[in-house]
Structure formats: structure tokens, C-alpha cells
Amino acid sequence: MLKEGSQNNFMEMVIERAGLLDIYEKVVSGKRLSKKDGIRLFETNDICALGFMANKVREEKNGQYAYYIYNQHINYSNICTNLCKFCAFGKRAGDDKAYLMSIDEIIEKIKERMDEPIREVHIVGGCHPDLPYSYYIDMLRAIKEVRPDIHIQAFTCVEIAHIAQIGGKSIEKTLEELVEAGLGSIPGGGAEVFSTRIRQKLCPEKLPGNKWIEVAKIAHKMGLKSNATMLYGHIETIEERIDHLLALRQAQDETGGFMCFIPLAFHPKNTELNEIAPTSGIDDIKNIAVARLILDNFPHIKAYWVMLGPKIAQLALSFGADDLDGTVLEEKITHMAGAETSQALSNREIEHLIKSAGRIPVERDTLYNVINVIS
């Protein structure tokens, strides 16, 4: 029950009118939301009531801080055996648009930006059929050699499983060797929607949902931190979204190794699903808000501006998100799917977005250690 007198609060009145008081009571008393609660939250059109609740949790967990990181993206190859229907990036070997960066080329990219205070290099690529196991190990070693202080966040759970298979090694052994070569943490991609129905329809070749979670849990048990994503806005149902979030919540209960959840808006352009309309602004902020409310054991929710655009990402800071990701240079995956966002935001632009939303910009490292609080 709400505390006596608090009924007077205007937004609580609004939440009551919206028929969400029982959920709100759970939120304020720290009780877990159920699957049914999650579905009701997605179905509400009381956007401000939903945002208010998500913001309450956001401020409890992260106060007024809004994080960003100074990072560099490297997509080493788009050659991929999975060729998921929602992807505009992956290409068959031999395709006109297929590319593979040699380790020398990757090092060149790193060297180009040695004078910038980059904290993280973020590396994601396709599941390349022919690259040897040593390519991945050598890549990490070479980067660490030229830039020893940089944190390498590399290879989604899908790539890890692929690399392990290529090397004929277990996930544990593969991770152990990648870490030794310089791997710092694992990005959250490849989760898509865990539902078997969705994966069979859209990405039958891809690592199944339960295996994705298994790789993440193994990594966590070895002390590696990772992120988690969900690709929404294609053919998934609301229920499948909630099931996805609940699976992540359960895994997090077991390991505590996830740092951040990142809802990813599907970009249909140049994919096999290009007849599907791009997501609405309302769906974008609902996904942020509902994730913040369901994932009570995730410290951070990221509004990835590359996918959402700076404007929606900024608004998301009032709907549950506490992180805008980074300065990001040379992102290819979303841009090949028609993202109209620019390739990079300067620190100054990111700080302006955050301050103008009434929050405190905080530069972080990959593991959410505070580098600099910008007052």
C-alpha cells in the first residue's frame, strides 16, 4: 500500500487513473514485476505514467547521472554464415559488398586515433566461415600491443560460440584464451529475441537463445562482465519481448554479470524484412521504460543513440535510461540498415544532450567506473 498522505502526489493520482497503481506499489516497495505486469505496461498509452514509474527506478539506481563513454567501433568483417533476415550488414563471402579487415588494417584504425582519450574499442563482426581461431587471438594481442591501456569489449556471445567451434575448443577455454590475449568484456549483441519461433523464422542459423544465455553465464562465472540486448520492432509479439526480458532477469539472478541492457530498434531498410515499418517513437521509449521496470537486477539501461537517434535517446533519459553509449566512430551495422544518424557525436554534443535533459553527464569506462563527472 502507498504511504499515507502520498495519495496527494499528482503523478500517483495519474497512475491510479491509468489503472497501474498495483504495479506502481510493487515498484516502490521493490517487489518484482510479473510477466502479466510487463504486458500491461507495454499496452498502456499513459506514456507519462509509464515514464514516471521507470524514471523513479532509474533515479533510485543511478541518481541524476547519465553516462557516456569515449569509444571506437571496429566491425572487422561483414562476412557471415548466419545471414539473419533482419540484418543489412552480413554478406556471403564473394559478395560485392563483403569485406574483411586484416589485423594490420585494424591496427591502422587504432593508430589513427592514438591521440584521442579513447577508453574502449568495441569490436563486433560476422560469423566468418574461414577465419582461423588465431585471427581473433592475434587481433586482441595486436591491439593491446599498440594501445595497452584500452579496454577491449569484443565478440558477442554468438561470435564467441563461433570462435570456439572454429578452434575446436570449449567456451571456457576459448574465453580463457581470449581474455589472456586482451579481451576485457563482452558486448550484448546477438541476443535478438530469444524465442525459438522468432529465431526459426528470422535467423535459423544463429546460436539459439538458450545457448546465448549459456555463453553469457559461462563468461560471468569466469569473472567477465557483459551486456545484453533485444532487437524489437520486427515480427515479435509483446509476450515474446517480456519472455526475453524475464530470461535475462533470471540469468542475472544467477550470475550478476550483466552490466547493461540495450533495447535495439529494428531498422528494416536493406534487410529482407524491408516491408516492415520502422519503429515508432512511442515504441522506442516504451521498450526503454518497460525494460527498466522489469530488469530490476540490471544496474544500467542504455539508450543507444546510433539506433534511436540523439533526440529519442535524450528523451529516454527521462524514461528509464541512464546511458547514451559513446562517441562511436565508424559504426557500420546500423548504418547499413539505413540509420540516418551521424557517425559520431562529440563529447560536447553528448554533454549538451544530457545537461539539457536536466541530468549530470558522467564519462565512464566500459565497466561503469566514473572517469569524469561534468558539472
Partner: protein, 350 residues
């Protein structure tokens, strides 16, 4: 505790300028959105979001005003200036009608040499296509009055006689002369802008009103702007809608950060709360993109504006969003609203 100003708004009472400042300074985005949304549904109870199919025709870009925020104009002595021929105009109108367009939004620069008769002829020509003509923002009317040595009322009467149907709310920028002196020193003053609108309303013309914010103005200036509009609307009731939109700094002579989406939603919501005598508020997808425009439907806006078959001025500032009627209808539906085409006076096209 509910703050006194929230209580006042909840009870449907009018708030003053000081209270509006409290909204800007002390209230969170969700509370503002909620209050604005409630008023939106009190004013327009049906879950309908309207839009208009029209074309923005800029008859000339030659302009002696030289406003610092404008990326579109061309000084009279500079190359690149144009005046549309009637033949070009006719073609654009035909295209508009073919796309189901119901009106022409006609605006242009303050051309130093064209006589009032040119504009009268242009109005007559456009009206020969039997289409609603929403034309000439107040600075243009003031300019016509100067070049013709006729009063504002006389200019309006001549244009109405030629067929002018309504007047767009452009050129309002911020209705505070201290701000106007800095960003648009040669443009109509705040009181001149209001004088044109009052005269137009008294002659039976409906008009809209705009506010261009997020440059050098203060929050107090924004509130003064809203207050002047509300006062005139009390007198005449001639405004059909209010359209706030953030300044786009690209290619202009003002260097500043563009107003963010957060500032936009907040300003929109406060406008909805403050302008209790305005029936309609438009979302600005042209400057904000369709996604923020969708969210603004929950922060006080009940109209998606125009399909903008042609838009030149914002595009010149490097901002280019394009939406077809089909897109607009889909974006409205995606938010749970029913899209309905409307006319300038907000009657629904059946």
C-alpha cells in the same frame, strides 16, 4: 503534496506568467506531459490526430530583412535570387491538387521592388485553381503596407478582395523586441506582428501563430510570447492553432546549440497548458523528426501539421525530414490515434 500550480491547472483555472515560469523551472517532464495531455483531451476529446495536405510555396527568396537565424534568404544584390513565375506557380498547384492537397501555404522574402499589385495578381491567379490560400505572414503584410503606403487594414482588404483565405503565423519568432532587435532587426516589431493578426481577425480571416525558440531568448521571453498571443486570442478568437518549433542553427548567422527534444516537449506542454484559449497545437515533425512528433502527441499536440509537399526554409538549414500522407497516417496510428485529414480551419475532410 500537489504544488499549488498543478492543483490550479487540474481545476481548469488559467495560470499567469509567474506560474508558467514555475512550470519551466520546477516541474518534471512527466507531470507537464500529463497536464498538457489532459487539457488536449478536454479541448479535443476524440482520439483523433489531424493533418493537412498542402504545399509550402516560397514565391521568392529575395529578402531585405536579412534575419540572422535564416538560412533561406538571398540579399537583393546577391546572386541566386529568384521570383517564381505564374507558370511555375501553376505547375506546383496542379501537383498539389493531384496529391489531394487542399491548400497552398504561400510565403516569401520581403522583395524590395515588387508592387502590391503583383501580390494581388498572384492571389487571383492561385485562387483561379479553386484551392485554399493560406498566405503572407505578418512581416510580409507590413512590408506590403510600406511599399504601397496603404494601411495594414487596406492591404488586407485588397488581398482578401483578391481571394486570400487565411494568414500563416510565421515571422512571430519571439514577440519581444529586445530579442527581435538582435536576430531580426529589420523585421516587423512584436506589436506590428500582433497588429496585423488583430486586423486580420477583425476582417474575418483565421490565422495561426508560431514561436521559434531555442536561440538567444530567455524562458521569460518565451512566456511573454505566449502571454501576448493569449491576450490577443481573448480579444479576437481568430487563431486556429499554435505551432512552436525550435530554431535550426545550421547555415545561419547565429551560433548556438539547437534546442533539444527535451526542451521541445517541455515547451510544447507548457504552451498547451498556458494557451487555454487555443483549440489546437501542432507537432513539428519537420524540425523534430517523426518519432519526437509521435511522442509530442502525448505532450499536448493534437495535430501532425502538414505533409509539406515542398519545404524549403528548414531544409536550407540542413534539416530534411520527408513524410508522405501515407507515412503520416501510419505514424499517427502507431500511437493509437485515428488520422484525419483537415482543412486550415480544422474542419475534417470527409
Amino acid at each position: 503534496m500537489i504544488s499549488p500550480v498543478v492543483k490550479k491547472i487540474e481545476e481548469g483555472k488559467r495560470i499567469d506568467e509567474k506560474e508558467a515560469l514555475t512550470l519551466f523551472n520546477d516541474l518534471d517532464l512527466h507531470t507537464l506531459g500529463q497536464l498538457a495531455n489532459k487539457i488536449r483531451f478536454q479541448k479535443n476529446p476524440h482520439p483523433i490526430v489531424t493533418y493537412v495536405i498542402d504545399r509550402n510555396i516560397n514565391y521568392t527568396n529575395i529578402c531585405i530583412s536579412g534575419c540572422k537565424f535564416c538560412a533561406y534568404y538571398c540579399g537583393p544584390e546577391k546572386p541566386g535570387g529568384y521570383v517564381l513565375s505564374f507558370e511555375e506557380l501553376g505547375k506546383k498547384i496542379e501537383e498539389t491538387k493531384a496529391l489531394g492537397g487542399t491548400q497552398i501555404l504561400l510565403q516569401g522574402g520581403l522583395h524590395p521592388d515588387l508592387p502590391l499589385s503583383f501580390y494581388e495578381d498572384m492571389v487571383r491567379f492561385i485562387k483561379s485553381y479553386n484551392i485554399h490560400l493560406h498566405g503572407f505572414s505578418p512581416p510580409e503584410i507590413i512590408h506590403f503596407s510600406k511599399i504601397s503606403a496603404l494601411s495594414i487594414k487596406e492591404v488586407l482588404e485588397r488581398l482578401i478582395e483578391a481571394g486570400l483565405d487565411s494568414i500563416p503565423g510565421g515571422g512571430a519568432e519571439i514577440l519581444v523586441d529586445r530579442v527581435r532587435k538582435k536576430i531580426a532587426p529589420k523585421k516587423a516589431t512584436a506589436s506590428e506582428w500582433l497588429e496585423v493578426m488583430e486586423a486580420a481577425h477583425r476582417l474575418g480571416l483565421k490565422t495561426t501563430a508560431t514561436m521559434m525558440f531555442g536561440h538567444i531568448e530567455t524562458i521569460e521571453d518565451r512566456i511573454t510570447h505566449l502571454s501576448k498571443l493569449r491576450k490577443l486570442q481573448d480579444k479576437t478568437g481568430g487563431f486556429t492553432a499554435f505551432i512552436p518549433w525550435p530554431f535550426q542553427p545550421g547555415n545561419s548567422a547565429i551560433e548556438c546549440e539547437s534546442a533539444t527534444a527535451f526542451d521541445y516537449l517541455k515547451t510544447l506542454a507548457i504552451s498547451r497548458i498556458f494557451l487555454d484559449n487555443f483549440q489546437n497545437l501542432q507537432a513539428s515533425w519537420v524540425t523534430q523528426g517523426y518519432k519526437v512528433a509521435q511522442i509530442s502527441l502525448f505532450f499536448g499536440a493534437n495535430d501532425f501539421g502538414s505533409t509539406m509537399i515542398e519545404e524549403n526554409v528548414v531544409a536550407a538549414a540542413g534539416v530534411s525530414h520527408r513524410l508522405s500522407e501515407k507515412d503520416i497516417r501510419r505514424h499517427i496510428r502507431a500511437c493509437g490515434f485515428e488520422p484525419r485529414q483537415r482543412l486550415m480551419d480544422y474542419t475534417i475532410v470527409e
